[in-house]
């Protein structure tokens, strides 16, 4: 839980940092536009300032009228300044190192505007003065046209030229010469007629006016040029550039940081993805492996289960055989005892019958010798008795009856013997066994199943004795014959055939029963497989058969089709080697001495 919270917080923080960096870098484009606008505005103002200054300087060259560009330039400058003010003095102030110079610039700019107005006014005055001068020059020159005034005229001409130079020069240096020239002219002009003198005086006055306005203009101009507008703006620009560079640098840093951060984040995500992928791969692998493992385990378990089942089947079977053995032992003893005396008695009595007969004969021979008087009554009795029990017939009859009784008892004895033989409780030994005899024994045991409805056909060949455990083989035969009998509904036949094939004995047990399909055939030797109704069969019979034959190195196969009966074919090797049995050491180890067997008692009788 805590871990999840930590992961969530870390994710949120990582995203927040990413967002911040994005904001920091993404905010720039807007600023950049404004930045360019500002620079443009600034450049334009600087340009126009320069233009105005140029126009101002050019205005100096004009002598009669203000050059037309100045006013326009001033107009444009005013507009540019207006824009500059909007761009550079936004509601939220720019950095003070920019804002200060900007404000300073505007202060100077206002002063400059005022100064410029004044300058222009004075310029008009100068133009007026200069016009006046020019107007008064012509009459003077006309007056001085005569040769006698040639020197004066020359001087006036020089004065006019000097004055023009004075007016045009930015820093006129010929002021003293002009003053000197004026002095010379006025002194020379005294000699002129009064009218001429008057005109010359007026010219001189105009010259003074020109000079003074020009000087005033010069001052205004100096004043104008002294206003530090451009440096302030340039400082602002420099500071702005620096500021911008700083911002740019920090943005660049942020960008770099963003890039690094994003890369790192990407790396982390990639790592996470990779780990996730690897986990999935591992999971997939584990899944696949797990499935494999589960398969293997399932197989093992199934095998173990089969093993357990078959062992269980064997155990059940051996338990069954053991209890059957016990039963047979008890029954055999209990039956054999009464059977013993019953049979013996019948034989003994029967053996006595001829003697009895001869006794009767002797009596019969005696009868005629009796005196008639005494014989009458006895003879009558005898006749009556003989009518009831005729000695001749009845003794013969008794013999027949006793013979039948003996036959029945012998049959019982045979059956008990067969049971004993079958269970072999007293015969565990592997021995050489007459297979045909074993089949007969099994048939005898099966009589109940067969009754008279099933015809038994025998085709017994001459067989060598087969090394085996007879009780187990009897079990095999019994199971197969019982199955065959159960497969027959109503009348039918079972054919038992034996023959020797090479070094094996082949036993075939075929029936005319219902047969089975291939699927059933595939399973019949598996433990607990049964086609009988629940409770009718254990499904063990054929698995036991199979196991027993396996133990005997033999084989069994089945040939059958539904409705066509079934044939089981058993092959048993007749090789001399009996199934392997553990060999016991002949002599017990010393440690066990005298514990296993009590010593044979001393023999005293011989």
């Amino acid at each position: 839980m805590l871990r999840r919270i930590i992961v969530a917080v870390a994710m949120v923080m990582a995203l927040a940092v990413l967002g911040l960096l994005m904001y920091r870098t993404q905010a720039q484009p807007l600023d950049l536009r404004r930045h360019n606008e500002r620079l443009t505005q600034l450049e334009r103002v600087l340009e126009l300032e320069a233009a105005v200054d140029q126009d101002i300087a050019r205005a100096r060259l004009a002598l009669d009228a203000e050059p037309p560009g100045l006013e326009q330039a001033q107009q444009r400058l005013a507009e540019a300044r207006q824009q500059l003010r909007q761009g550079w003095m936004p509601r939220e102030r720019l950095a003070p190192e920019i804002d200060g110079p900007v404000r300073e610039y505007f202060r100077h700019a206002d002063e400059k505007s005022a100064a410029l107005e004044r300058y222009r006014a004075e310029l008009q005055q100068f133009f007026a003065a200069f016009g006046q001068l020019r107007k008064q020059a012509d009459p003077v020159l006309t007056v001085l046209a005569s040769d006698q005034y040639t020197a004066l005229r020359r001087r006036v001409m020089t004065l006019l030229g000097d004055l023009t130079t004075y007016s045009i020069q930015s820093r006129p240096i010929n002021g003293p010469e002009i003053a000197e020239l004026q002095g010379a002219i006025s002194s020379e002009a005294r000699g002129l007629p009064p009218a001429a003198l008057q005109t010359v005086d007026r010219l001189l006055a105009s010259a003074d006016a020109v000079r003074s306005t020009k000087d005033g203009l010069q001052d205004r101009m100096q004043e104008l040029l002294a206003l530090p507008t451009t440096p302030a703006l340039e400082r602002a620009r420099r500071n702005y550039h620096e500021n911008h560079a700083r911002t740019e640098a920090s943005t660049a840093r942020y960008r770099k940081a963003l890039a690094i951060y994003a890369s790192a984040l990407l790396l982390v995500f990639a790592l996470g993805g990779w780990r996730l992928r690897r986990s999935y791969a591992e999971l997939d692998g584990a899944n696949a492996h797990l499935e494999e493992l589960v398969d293997v385990r399932t197989q093992e378990l199934r095998k173990a289960l089969d093993e357990v089942r078959s062992q269980q089947a064997q155990l059940i079977q051996s338990e069954k055989m053991a209890s059957l053995g016990q039963l047979v032992a008890g029954v055999a003893h209990e039956i054999n005892t009464p059977l013993g005396y019953a049979r013996s008695n019948v034989e003994t009595v029967r053996e006595g019958l001829p003697a009895m007969r001869s006794v009767f004969d002797a009596y019969d021979a005696l009868l005629p010798l009796l005196p008639a008087s005494q014989a009458e009554a006895l003879l009558g009795q005898l006749q009556a008795a003989r009518k009831v029990w005729d000695p001749v017939e009845r003794v013969e009859e008794a013999d027949v009856l006793l013979a039948d009784a003996e036959h029945g008892l012998v049959q019982i004895a045979d059956l008990v013997m067969s049971l004993k033989d079958f269970s072999r409780v007293d015969r565990s030994l592997t021995e050489r066994f007459d297979i045909n005899q074993g089949l007969e024994t099994a048939l005898k045991i099966c009589q109940g199943h067969l009754k008279s409805r099933v015809e038994i056909r025998r085709e017994f060949g001459e067989l060598p004795l087969v090394p085996c455990a007879p009780s187990q083989l009897n079990q095999v035969f019994l199971n197969l014959i019982t199955n065959a009998a159960q497969a027959i509904d109503g009348a039918g036949w079972i054919q038992l055939s034996t023959r020797e094939v090479g070094d094996a004995v082949e036993i075939s047990i075929a029936d005319s029963g219902c047969g089975m399909d291939e699927q059933t055939q595939a399973h019949i030797f598996e433990p607990f497989f049964t086609t009988k109704d629940v409770g009718k069969g254990t499904g063990l019979g054929l698995s036991i058969v199979f196991r027993i034959l396996e133990d005997h190195h033999g084989s069994i196969e089945v040939r059958s089709a539904p409705g066509q009966g079934a044939e089981f074919i058993i092959r048993l090797p007749t090789a001399r080697e009996a199934p392997a049995q553990p060999r016991a050491a002949p002599i017990a180890s010393v440690a066990q001495d005298d514990e296993l067997l009590p010593p044979v008692p001393a023999i005293s009788g011989i």
């Binding site: 032992a329 055999a332 003893h333 209990e334 039956i335 054999n336 005892t337 009464p338 059977l339 013993g340 005396y341 019953a342 049979r343 013996s344 008695n345 034989e347 003994t348 053996e351 008892l409 004895a413 004993k420 007293d426 015969r427 565990s428 030994l429 592997t430 021995e431 050489r432 004795l465 090394p467 001399r576 080697e577 009996a578 049995q581 060999r583 016991a584 050491a585 002949p586 002599i587 017990a588 180890s589 010393v590 066990q592 001495d593 005298d594 296993l596 067997l597 010593p599 044979v600 008692p601 001393a602 023999i603 005293s604 009788g605 011989i606």
Partner: protein
Amino acid sequence: MSSNTRPRILFIDDEPRILLSLKAMFRNDYDVETAVGGAAGIEQIKAQDFDVIVSDQRMPDVTGVDVLRAARELRPRSVRLLLTGYSDLTAIIGCINEGEIFRFISKPWGNTELRATIAAAVAAADVVPPLNQPPTPAPAGSKPGASGVALLILDEDAASRSQLKRTLENDRVVYEAGSVDEALEQLATHPIGVIVTELVVGGEVLTQLLGALRQHHPALVVVVLTSHADAGHSITLINQGQIYRLLLKPVSESVLRGTINIASRRYEMLQQHPEQIQRAAPEPLRAPPPAQRLGLLARIKRVLMA
């Protein structure tokens, strides 16, 4: 036992009807006494001498083995038979080794066979065992005087053979055989008195062979030492082979030595008193053996008669 008195037979069974039946059968020919139960039987044996004693095995008070063991001690001359409906292996081995019985008879019996068996037993009882025989064998491990009797070991397992030989060869000459043919060779070439044999050799049960051997070599003392014993075969071994002892593997060394010593003395006794062979006469071979055995029997005959 005097010749003018009839042979005396004692029948012991817990079922009186059996006794009645047997009595009815034999009273014409023999003096028949009966005892109901083992304890009563032992009392009878203590009280009187009998030629033949026939006991049931399964009795509620004393078992047939115990009765016959007591009979052997009390009346060594009496020939002992077991008449039983069913016996386990232990009882049968006990009867062979401790009861030294003459025959097993199965219930239900056929009268004819039983008469023949009883007649054989009576005939065997006619031979009085020598009473001067030293009653106890020499203690195990000591040097017995039985060194003159040669021993044959028949066992297909070489390891078992050599182990037996090592145990027994100190006291006597020991021959070995791994197969029936080898055994017959050895019997033909050496004067062998005692044979120690496994019951199953080459996958074959030797009951018939041993029976045949006894037919032709009546003095041969047979000790069966086996891991394959079962009740049916043991009965056949007694009835047709009259084997002397039946031991189960593994057997302790002292028991084995003791058994062989006694067997050797028995052989010597039989050599001295050939008439005693009658007391251990097996049943005559009844069913003709299978064809494949004829050759073997002929060979036995040839070898032993030579």
